[in-house]
């Protein structure tokens, strides 16, 4: 059945790659359409993309990003208090 095996391989290449391209091409269209529709429906403040992406590319960002604002607030308070004591 080796010939069958080879033909199975070709089938996988053909239908597999075909599906991948068809699906992602469709997704390009859907995504573009979705963005247009959504941005018409909701007027929304855009987020700053770069910092968000840097976050994503850094595995341990999750914990850090939840702690830092709190720390900054505490420090702000500490400094204000410190200054007022002088």
């Amino acid at each position: 059945m080796e010939s069958t095996l080879v033909s199975q391989g070709y089938d996988l290449l053909l239908y597999g790659m075909g599906t991948v391209f068809a699906f992602l091409t469709l997704l390009v269209g859907i995504t573009t359409l979705m963005s247009v529709v959504v941005n018409k429906l909701f007027v929304d403040v855009p987020e700053a993309t770069p910092s968000a992406v840097l976050n994503a590319s850094n595995g341990t960002a999750g914990a850090g990003s939840t702690v830092e604002p709190r720390i900054l607030k505490v420090i702000q308070a500490a400094i204000t208090q410190h200054r007022s004591k002088k």
């Binding site: 080796e2 095996l5 239908y15 597999g16 599906t19 997704l27 390009v28 995504t31 993309t49 992406v53």
Partner: protein, 390 residues
């Protein structure tokens, strides 16, 4: 005296077979690569350690539990047995990891430039040509792979660990060790494998192409995108729904902004717990009879080919897109389409900076990079569907 004999007979030295010894060295080798060379340590440390544990003669890490006739437990199974059967054979661990990866993924750059999805599609050519290679090796009698095994080998080219483990645990569980090791090793080798191919296929002028700044993406788009992807998968490709469904779920938890507790846990405690156990469980499949054979050499060779072809087809697709569109893309970002997030995107950025020290491609490369994750999950779904029917 009898006890002394019993102690000696049960010692590792007395029971050790040469295969086990070699596999323990393989495990130490993986740990060396992970710790000293920085090869994807989050997975290769547990896999390497699991390899050693699974090959300790007489330790029973891999032993099945024994029940008496009434169903009472006579002797419990080993740790790796339970991990493998509960988390890997069922597919649960890769799916939970995919949820966590979804919660860590930022689709912003992809949404700003959706046509980079095509780069993520092109890079999957590596998967399917590798299948053809495996089939050819089998056809010419060099090695012996079934179509299920060939498909599992191909998925190494997806450059996505959990996807490779999910597919292999379904189609060819005996190859799980070799394929997982190949997938993670080559992902770690991306900075070495990709640049020569990228340079060979592009001109200096192409490498210097500056891309326009990405438009800002709104919160609403970010929320609706995972749902759109989910619906499309549901309608067209249900076989890819387990992987992509959990991926979209994690991403929706992230972007919705209303369940930050859950998103944080999915990105931290939960994915870390599952990663430890997934790695150990993969290690349990690293036995001498399954790993020390010519097929493993073939798998490693074919995996390298898959990465190279994937890289090349991503770059070539970008050049093709430039030939028909007026919005030029820098073809280097095509190489990021293999996924290996975020390593491949960083490689694209680095090679870009070599050509022009002011040309920052990182953000642009993140688009095809995450598109590659979607692409290989789609490929996984198609293969599981087609191969199961063959």
């Amino acid at each position: 005296m009898e006890n002394l004999i019993s102690l000696w007979a049960s010692s590792g030295l007395a029971q050790m077979q040469s295969g086990q010894l070699i596999m323990m060295l393989v495990g130490l080798g993986l740990l060396f690569l992970a710790i000293s060379k920085g090869f994807e340590p989050l997975l290769l440390v547990p896999i390497g350690f699991g390899t050693i544990l699974a090959n300790i003669p007489g330790a029973g890490f891999d032993a099945a539990p024994v029940y008496d006739a009434l169903g009472h437990l006579e002797s419990p199974g080993g740790l790796l047995y339970y991990i493998y059967h509960a988390g890997i054979e069922t597919g649960l661990f890769p799916l939970v990891i995919f949820m966590g990866v979804g919660a860590m993924t930022d689709f912003g750059p992809l949404l700003a430039n959706p046509k980079t999805l095509l780069l993520g599609a092109a890079a999957q050519v590596g998967i399917f040509t590798t299948i053809l290679g495996a089939v050819a090796l089998s056809h010419f009698g060099i090695l012996d792979f079934s179509i299920r095994e060939a498909a599992s080998i191909g998925i190494i080219g997806g450059a996505d660990g959990p996807t490779a483990i999910f597919v292999t645990s379904k189609l060819a569980p005996d190859l799980l060790g070799a394929i997982a090791v190949a997938a993670y090793s080559y992902m770690a080798l991306v900075p070495i494998i990709q640049p020569p191919i990228m340079r060979a296929l592009t001109t200096p002028a192409e490498r210097q192409i500056r891309m326009e700044q990405l438009r800002p993406v709104t919160k609403a788009e970010r929320i609706v995108f995972p749902l759109s992807l989910l619906v499309l998968v549901a309608l067209l490709l249900p076989d890819a729904a387990p992987l992509l469904g959990m991926f979209c779920f994690g991403n929706l938890m992230r972007e919705s902004g209303v369940v930050n507790r859950l998103s944080d846990t999915a990105q931290n405690a939960l994915i870390n717990i599952v990663t430890i156990f997934l790695g150990l469980g993969v290690g349990s499949k690293m036995s001498a009879e399954k790993f020390l054979n010519p097929e493993t050499m073939g798998i490693l060779a074919l995996g390298a080919v898959a990465f190279c072809i994937g890289t090349a087809s991503g770059v070539l697709m970008a050049k093709l897109m430039n030939s028909v569109s007026k919005h030029k893309v820098n073809p280097l970002i095509g190489a990021a389409g293999v996924s290996a997030v975020p390593m491949a995107a960083r490689v694209a950025n680095k090679v870009g900076l070599e050509a022009n020290s002011q040309n920052f491609l990182l953000m642009h490369a993140m688009g095809p990079n995450v598109a590659g994750v979607i692409g290989s999950a789609v490929a996984a779904g198609v293969m599981i569907n087609l191969v199961s029917g063959m």
